[in-house]
């Protein structure tokens, strides 16, 4: 018997397995970089990443139904990692979305060598940089992605602020790096990475400061303990409020809520499109998983205090994202602003607390699949070697590449929230839940915002089908099975969750209760 067991520490290894698998695979990926010859690295890395994520998903499924802390001393849970319904569901969602994102990262056919640079350290636009455009992209992106995804999986199950902070950094750092690895438009890509890093660091500082305040108030960083302190702590409530505000700012930054959203369009546009897809889908899931947990578990007792300001932020985010999106001319920027507006809808789910946890998670899953497929399609439409992201270039795509245009149309209709797509079921169930939580005002704003946001999406559809293509219109590169799978899976999920959402709604319904609420 070792010391830990003597101290009565029990560790739920099976419960930790998903994260362990992903992290171990990430480290193995680093070894692969050192040990496997260059030509074979891509195959090995992609298989390793996909297998690890699939295994992690399987492990999550095996854990389904758990409602306990992963670490217990003498039967009493320590909050650092919590295995409960929302945590497990979001871990599973992350694993699924990450598999798809990895396939997109691995796409090599649409452009030679892929979207990633071989040597990131080469000075942009120098002769060496031009020379390396013909080389295959770096394969370090796969272990980096696995680290980020592992961090996200930890983030959504973290039960105390400290673990959450570690997870936050773990998911952020690889992403900063990944943003700067685009092979084309190197300078914009590097600028995006730097902006994301600086602002991310800025936001992290807020987080640490808020954590300190909350510790001062509650004497613990455990979320359940903070909640308890909200009702019976003798400390001045000032600490609580400053703490809540700072933590909220940091997390709303990751979630891209107005006015903490400004990095989003620049980073989404500058990052390589597969990385943008990863951020739009997975980081969104992680950020809102964290927000849901912090507000439901840690701050439910002080709901009256933060309700107003969070409502204001939600309204600003919904309207701001939608209004900004209206005048966008670049598909990646359009999707970025739409992601901001969607953060607003998701905030309704956070504000509605327990009533809407399941529906918020459903929304995250539905949105994740759609948005990954949307970015995947963006990476297929090309002017020569570069992505044709300017919307004017997409005019008349329906005539030249009807298949792609149909896919884009389905995705745009889903993002606009039309019936028979997942976008509709997700919004409908989320807004219904919010109504049950007496958030009528937010729902009205949400519907207005959706109506505004439908305009730019439908404009894309009009552009695709009703305009004449330019003589030098971009070509749609035939994807390899990799990106093909991404698009197919995203579109299939979009339609299935729109037509027959019952099974997933049942699952989120069962998985909607946090431990310790």
């Amino acid at each position: 018997m070792n010391e830990a067991q003597q101290a009565g520490l029990q560790i739920d290894w099976a419960g930790l397995a998903p994260m362990i698998i992903v992290f171990v695979a990430a480290f193995l990926g680093l070894l692969v970089e050192a040990a496997v010859p260059k030509g074979r690295r891509l195959v090995v890395q992609v298989s390793l990443a996909v297998l690890a994520l699939a295994a992690a998903f399987a492990a999550v499924v095996l854990n389904a139904g758990k409602n306990s802390a992963a670490f217990e001393i003498e039967g009493v849970g320590i909050g650092s990692v919590v295995l409960d319904g929302p945590g497990l569901f979001l871990q599973g969602t992350l694993a699924m979305l990450a598999i798809i994102a990895v396939l997109l990262l691995a796409e090599r056919r649409t452009t030679r060598g892929g979207d990633f640079v071989a040597e990131a350290a080469v000075v942009a636009d120098s002769a060496a940089d031009k020379a390396q455009r013909r080389e295959d992209g770096a394969t370090e992106i796969f272990p980096l992605t696995l680290f980020a995804v592992g961090g996200m999986m930890m983030f959504v199950t973290a039960g105390d602020l400290l673990t959450m902070f570690v997870a936050l950094e773990m998911l952020s750092l690889p992403l900063y790096l990944l943003c700067g690895l685009a092979k084309r438009r190197r300078l914009i890509s590097q600028e995006a990475a730097l902006k994301y890093f600086l602002l991310g660091a800025f936001a992290s500082a807020f987080y640490v400061y808020g954590m300190a305040m909350l510790y001062g108030f509650a004497g613990t960083v455990d979320l359940a303990g903070i909640n308890q302190a909200g009702t019976d702590s003798g400390q001045p409530r000032m600490f609580l409020y400053i703490g809540v505000a700072m933590i909220a700012v940091a997390m709303l930054f990751k979630a891209a809520a107005v006015p903490f959203h400004m990095w989003t369009p620049d980073v989404y546009t500058g990052a390589p499109t597969p990385v943008t897809a990863l951020m739009a889908a997975c980081v969104k899931v992680a950020a809102f998983g964290g927000l849901l947990r912090v507000f439901n578990v840690g701050l439910a007792s002080s709901a009256w205090d933060w309700h107003l300001i969070l409502t204001v932020i939600a309204v600003a985010t919904m309207l701001g994202g939608a209004i900004f999106a209206v005048t966008q001319r670049n598909i990646k920027r359009l999707l970025a602003y739409s992601s901001i507006a969607n953060a607003g809808y998701l905030l309704i789910g956070v504000i509605a607390l327990g009533e809407a946890v399941g529906q918020t998670m459903f929304y995250l899953a539905a949105y994740g699949f759609t948005v990954i497929a949307a970015f995947a399609v963006v990476s297929l439409v090309r002017d020569g070697d570069e992505e044709a992201t300017h919307l004017a270039r997409w005019a008349g795509l329906g005539k030249k590449s009807p298949g792609t245009a149909v896919v884009v149309t389905v995705l745009m209709l889903a993002l606009a929230g039309l019936p028979f797509t997942s976008g509709f079921t997700a919004k409908f169930s989320l807004f219904t839940a919010a109504l049950q939580a007496d958030e009528l005002g937010l729902v009205i704003v949400g519907v207005i915002s959706s109506a505004i946001l439908a305009f730019p999406y439908l404009k894309v559809v009009v552009l695709l089908w009703l305009n004449e293509p330019a003589p030098d219109a971009p070509t749609v590169n035939l994807p390899s099975p990799m990106a093909g799978t991404v698009v197919a899976a995203g579109v299939a999920a979009t339609i299935i969750l729109g037509v027959a959402p019952g099974f997933l709604l049942d699952i989120v319904d069962q998985a909607s209760t946090f431990l310790n609420t």
Partner: protein, 633 residues
């Protein structure tokens, strides 16, 4: 009444889905394969319907061996909400069996004919795709085991009919006719939908067996409502009064379409619907009277207008309207007459398909002209077409021993058997209709094939190729013999569906009716022959008001124009004005406002990290301040 139950399908009968799947597969392949299938597509179309016919024959004989004569095949659940379950199930019983044979059998012959008829049309593959689609939808209609399935087929045939009427869509008349057929049918289909909603409201189901078994518990008002709504739907699909106007216009489609869809099968769907719902119709005498009135009125209406038309296909179309009137009359009379209506429907399917294909053969020979005033003396040039058209002519006017004699006379006799003054009125109408039918059909026949040649100079009539004449001959044989063969056998065959039929006795005996009918038919035909033996003027001459009224479709178009078109146009232009000024104004103003706001606010998106950080910082300050405000309060 006995409980109605359908046995589960076994053995060969469980392949009922394949009947639908075959033509549906053909349609899918032809549509998806695109131009690649241009060379062989039509043969695939013929093969799938031929296969379906073979299967229908085999299923027909295996159904004959069953005791309860029914087979129900559950496929999957379409909808399950609360207490309402809608299954996708197929019902193969004697009624659907004879329809399947008619659709696939006559359909097969017309498909073969169309291979020749459409051989010079660049859109032949598309034509066969739609044709197969129609066959699949029609089979869903007659095989559906509940009203919802029937409705799916009902809408499917509507779609196929629209596509095929407007097949030559670049011809304005064809495009307009397609639209007209579609819109008229949509209006009538509302009746079907409302009938289903009423069933769901009153009985909680649309399943045939459950509806029929529960029908006895319906209140009089409910059964009246369901019956009248179903009747409205049936009238729309079958071109009955007051929805008759679309059917003659539908002749703008290729002639095989007129033969298959607008003569033999789809337009008889209304009769099928009433016959299938005979339990509901038998419950309420008022509904039955309504059906009888519609039938009697329409059969006269069609016959009168038919006398005044000069377009060979339009005469045949009005004659279809009129003959379906006879079928409605029969199924409205109820009891033993249900089977009579179905038998007349089957016989009509043969001879009317034959007549239409014959007219197509004539058009083929005459450079696609349809004006009977420019025909004449064609019997020498196209003897096969002449002989088969003659068979159809004899069949439709109903002289002994041809088809119509066996199927129309019993309907007239049953009409006379109705109680009280109604019997005299309805019977008299049916008898008058028979005389008119004999007159106008003889007119068409004589003007087309006999008398002096009145051809336009550029035509060189010739007999059609074998691929067109062989189906003609087969249908001609059917016209001659089918009625006599079916008269007793099909009545017995349909007994499990409609119950035992009893000999009816009324104002006139069957023998008296037969004699009277034969006399009026001979008179009508004789008059027609005498008047038109020497041809006719090539321009319409001034005529008395009945002829003028008949030429104007008895005012049907004028009513439509005054009652629907003009108010609709007014409403349309009003809403266009509303849309243009008020709605668009508001929308454009709003979008300009949002766009402007968007551009103004986006100025904040400077691209500088310092301003982004400032935004975050000010956001944080606001959040903290807001929370502090709460404290102070």
């Amino acid at each position: 009444m006995d409980e109605i139950s359908y046995a589960p399908a076994e053995g060969l009968l469980s392949l009922a889905w394949l009947l639908i799947a075959l033509p549906a597969f053909g349609a899918a392949v032809l549509l998806l394969a695109g131009r690649r299938a241009d060379k062989w597509g039509h043969w695939l179309g013929v093969a799938t319907i031929g296969g379906a016919f073979a299967l229908a024959l085999a299923m027909f004989s295996s159904l004959a061996g069953l005791d309860n004569k029914s087979a129900n095949l559950d496929l999957f659940t379409i909808l399950s909400v609360g207490d309402l379950d809608i299954e996708a199930n197929l019902l193969f019983d004697p009624l659907s069996a004879v329809f399947c044979l008619l659709i696939t059998g006559v359909g097969f012959l017309i498909h073969v004919y169309a291979v020749g008829y459409m051989s010079h049309d660049p859109g032949r593959r598309k034509f066969f795709a739609y044709f197969n689609l129609f066959a699949a939808a029609m089979l869903v209609l007659v095989l559906g085991g509940n009203y919802f399935m029937t409705f799916i087929g009902w809408e499917g045939v509507g779609l196929a009919s629209y596509l095929l009427i407007a097949f030559w869509q670049l011809k304005p008349a064809a495009a307009t006719a397609g639209k007209k057929a579609f819109l008229t049918n949509r209006v009538a289909d509302v009746g079907f939908l409302l009938a289903m909603f009423t069933m769901i409201g009153a009985l909680g189901t649309v399943d045939f067996a459950e509806v029929f078994n529960g029908a006895a518990s319906l209140s009089t008002g409910m059964s009246l409502a369901i019956g009248l709504l179903l009747l409205a739907a049936a009238c729309g699909k079958s071109g009955q009064f007051p929805f008759q106007t679309w059917l003659p216009d539908a002749m703008e489609g290729p002639t095989p379409v007129s033969a298959l869809i607008h003569a033999a099968t789809m337009v008889t769907a209304g009769v099928y619907l009433i016959a299938r719902s005979h339990v509901i119709f038998s419950l309420n005498p008022d509904v039955q009277t309504a059906v009888v009135i519609v039938g009697a009125l329409t059969l006269l209406f069609g016959a009168i207008v038919g006398c005044a038309k000069d377009d060979i296909k339009r005469v045949l179309a009005w004659s279809t309207v009129s003959q379906i009137g006879y079928m409605f009359l029969a199924v409205g009379l109820g009891g033993g007459a249900f089977a009579l209506g179905i038998i007349h429907l089957l016989a009509h399917g043969f001879f009317k398909a034959g007549l239409f294909l014959g007219s197509g053969s004539v058009m083929h020979a005459m450079n696609d002209q349809t004006d009977i005033r420019r025909f004449g003396g064609l019997w020498r040039k196209m003897p096969l077409t002449y002989a088969t058209f003659a068979a159809g002519w004899l069949a439709i006017i109903g002289l002994f021993p041809f088809s119509g004699f066996w199927t129309k006379d019993p309907i007239i006799a049953s009409a006379f058997a109705r109680e009280g003054w109604q019997g005299w009125v309805v019977g008299g109408a049916a008898l008058l209709g028979a005389a008119l039918t004999a007159f106008y059909m003889t007119r068409v026949f004589v003007l087309t094939f006999h008398g002096p040649k009145r051809w336009t100079p550029d035509v060189h009539p010739h007999e059609s190729p074998a691929i067109m004449t062989v189906p003609l001959i087969l249908l001609g044989l059917g016209s001659l013999g089918a009625g006599g063969l079916m008269a007793s056998s099909v009545t017995t065959w349909l007994t499990p569906v409609f119950g035992e039929s009893h000999e009816v006795h009324g104002h006139l005996s069957h023998a008296q009716v037969t004699v009277a009918t034969t006399i009026v038919v001979v008179l009508g035909a004789g008059l027609g022959w005498f008047l038109f033996r020497g041809g006719t003027d090539e321009v319409p001459h001034a005529a008395a008001w009945p002829v003028r009224a008949a030429r104007a479709d008895l005012g049907g178009e004028a009513v439509n124009r005054g009652l629907f078109e003009r108010p609709s146009r007014l409403a349309a232009s009003a809403s266009v004005a509303m849309d243009g000024r008020v709605v668009d104004g508001a929308v454009n103003g709003l979008s300009a406002a949002i766009g402007g706001t968007s551009r103004r606010l986006l100025v904040m998106q400077t691209g500088f990290v310092r301003s982004y950080a400032l935004s975050i910082l000010s956001g944080a300050v606001i959040v903290v301040a807001a929370l502090m405000v709460v404290v102070i309060q």
